[in-house]
Amino acid sequence: MKTLVSLALLTAFAAAGCATPRGAPGALADIRPGQRPALDSDEAGLWMQMDRVEGNLKTSGQLITDPALRTYLRGIVCKLASEHCVDIRLYIVQTPHFNASMAPNGMMQVWTGLILRADNEAQLAYVLGHELGHYQRRHSVQLWRDARTKTNVATVFAVVAAAAGQGYVGSLAQLVALGSVMAFSRDNEREADEIGFELMARAGYDPREAPKIWESLDKERKAGKDSEPSIFFATHPPTDERIETLKESARKAYTPDRAWTDGRQAYLAATRPLRATLLQDELRRRDFARMQVLLDHLMAAEPESGQLQFFQGELYRLRNADGDPGRAVESYEMALMIGGAPPETNRALGLLLMRLGEKPRARAAFERYLTDAPEAEDKAMIRSYLEQLR
């Protein structure tokens, strides 16, 4: 990704009607709609950097610009942010990492790793509401001010500047190594959770969905390789207490007489067209333990998906541990049987069968591939395999 651009630097941004600062005495006041910092303020420096990052982001080539998806997501954001919606510019960034962030200048990012993992609109709304909470309380300004007083730690700016233009895992490690600078405090997290929760409930989303996204993220994180740092967890330290608190809040907030929605159907309709691309991006990370958790989660909700079975096969094929080639073949064959599997399924099956010396079956798979995708970019190569397998 052109950029794991700009970390979660969230700045406050006032929620409707709430001008008095909450939290600790001396806390920054909530941001008001349309407000900009004075040019000589330290906050202006932060905005300037965010403006730069936003400029880079716009031309990074990493954005998903599909109008239907943008309209859909923006609708959710505006439902949550109400009259502050006009101050927000939403960017969908194509990267397999889970993240959402909101910068002091109104730039909001949603990374496709998040879109892949949210089960429904309600879960997405909670995460976006959480980020709006950080923005509202200007937690990032506080973070940045604290960072400046620490020695031997790169500033948020240096990190952001390094991030702006970095897109690959190598930079993630650098950024997360500075995790102590980037992490919101427990108080900040609690506040943002409260606000996120409020906003989603007010908009009619089922509050019981809020803890679920943290739970599945946590599960994935525990399965993932230690070496793979998570930007989101670097800035939002995971705690068991959080999940319990959210469950408790949900119990209190959920009143059966109200018509809560999770927006699952609308969410699937809007995001399903993108899923194959996002799963492909996920595969390229090569973190198979983590991806297995994700696939298990997706397949639990959708056991009869040829697409998901294909990706299960790909996971086995690329992991290539003992017995994996055989497992991969089984998955591809199941995908083909279920239906809805992409044309690449037959190619992947053919390649594996060819490797295993199963010539007639390999030929059959390649022939099916060429039938389904006669204009494939690799048709000449596939034809040469067919020649070799004669």
Partner: protein, 189 residues
């Protein structure tokens, strides 16, 4: 350039500044041996640099255009050495061309390329091997759009690759024909 490579370059530069010798050598347009395995006809003059198993040539600077020769990757090695080698896809000597392309994409990803697309993958005789050719497009981590072409093959269990890439604006086109002729001129020793 990867972070590691950048550090390596800086240290090397500092060393040469103290030592006083230049780093790039001149490749003249006459037959030249690569990796002690095959010869090519460079077509024109290039500035050359060696980095491990890779030999890199450029006319205008590596950020603008370059032709890179990989000389014999062994079974179990990733395409480029980076900080997260452990996780990367490794070359297997029984890889099909399609899988070699996956290796190439994984390698490019590891050094920061994004939005990598591969087109026109086709068979190509690389020296004594049934190899492949393809075209590429990608974006550097600084957002500069690039085009590329690759040719490769596995000979005696080791991977040989030629990768020509350059900025989509102007530089790729400038030496594309030279790169094509270089690929066609590959001749086993």
């Amino acid at each position: 350039m990867t972070g590691r490579r950048r550090v390596g370059l800086a240290v090397a530069v500092l060393a040469t500044l103290l030592g006083g010798c230049a780093r790039y050598s001149l490749v003249e347009p006459k037959p030249r041996t690569i990796a002690d395995r095959y010869t090519v006809d460079p077509q024109i003059s290039w500035s050359a640099l060696t980095d491990g198993k890779w030999e890199l040539w450029t006319v205008d600077g590596f950020g603008l255009e370059s032709i890179q020769f990989l000389g014999g990757l062994n079974d179990g090695e990733p395409l480029f050495r980076t900080a997260d080698d452990q996780k990367r896809l490794k070359f297997r000597k029984d890889m099909s061309a399609s899988e070699l392309v996956e290796l190439l994409v994984d390698g490019l990803t590891s050094i920061g390329a994004q939005k990598i697309t591969v087109t026109n993958l086709r068979p190509h005789r690389f020296g004594s091997a049934d190899g492949f050719r393809c075209e590429l497009a990608f974006v550097t981590r600084n957002g500069l759009e690039k085009r590329g072409m690759a040719a490769g093959g596995t000979i005696d269990g080791r991977l040989y690759l030629v990768l020509y890439s350059g900025a989509r604006l102007h530089y790729y086109e400038t030496h594309r024909d030279d790169a094509e002729r270089i690929i066609q001129s590959i001749h086993m020793k």
